[in-house]
Amino acid sequence: MMVPVRCFTCGNVVAEHWEEFKARTREAEEPEDPEKVLDELGVERHCCRRMLVSHKDLVDIVAPYQ
């Protein structure tokens, strides 16, 4: 639904980077390489990286069925 606030494994806060990550890798006209974006955002560990890479916002999808 919404991005997890923290990484499940290590507890690092990852949600603060979500919007920039989403904008640059998925919504931009020329999407950037997620690997590069995560490096630039300072999300180093692979446990934190998978939190963002594997996430999908679902609020827009469930909203009509409230």
């Binding site: 639904m1 991005v3 606030v5 507890g11 949600a15 603060e16 919007e19 609020v59 909203a63 409230q66």
Partner: protein
Amino acid sequence: MTQDYEVEFVERSDREARFLVRGISPAFANGIRRAMIADVPTFSVDTVRVIENSSVMFDEQIGLRLGLVPLTTDLDDFEVGDEVTLSIDVSGPETAYSGDLVSSDSLVGPADDNIPIIDLKDGQRLEVEADAVLDRGREHAKHQGGVAVGYRHLQRVEVVGDKGEFEDDETHILRGVIEEQAAEHVDGDADDGDLVLTEEFDSDLTKRYPGKELEVHDVENAFVFHAETDGSLSVEELTLRAVDSIRSRADELRDAVQL
């Protein structure tokens, strides 16, 4: 008998640091590490009073998300169990962010402002009062100030000779911090005694000492701590408070024994 500790920072920034401690026993190093994770208290939202929540998430889910938001903590002015009330009131269409939390105390507030709490659609509203409580990581992981706190031995690389002419060029991966002992074999600038992060040579010793036969040893009683915080405290504060918590327990034990 006094202890001769020597501390040296290898890397440091607001929320992350790597520091070397010499002369420390493994037991004490581990005690500090454990105390940094579980015994240094931080503020975290614990109870929420929902005034209105017409978002797509349940109250409990909102409560969980609020709980995970790191809050700045000043340990000089609060003690474990103290509460501070925060409130959030956002109407859609808009996303409610951690930065929308309004605190009743200027010392306690969200450490990061752009954590999305919930995406609100047209006509949806979130109004919540939340009580943040100061507690320890051993009560709940949301109270953990330290993130990924750990240590490694300081390592020493010894050049014992040249590699055989026909040996394979296998990588020799080493992570952590090394204390330079063979500067004369390094291409470029290096002095004996330098503390070098292995990332500087891509964590591959064959890149730093090409064509050499190597032996890696741990330096006894020298540990390199790596600590990150979630923003509620600085790394320095976290470390000192951890040591202090061990000290106060020893103090308590001594008083109890004397009686």
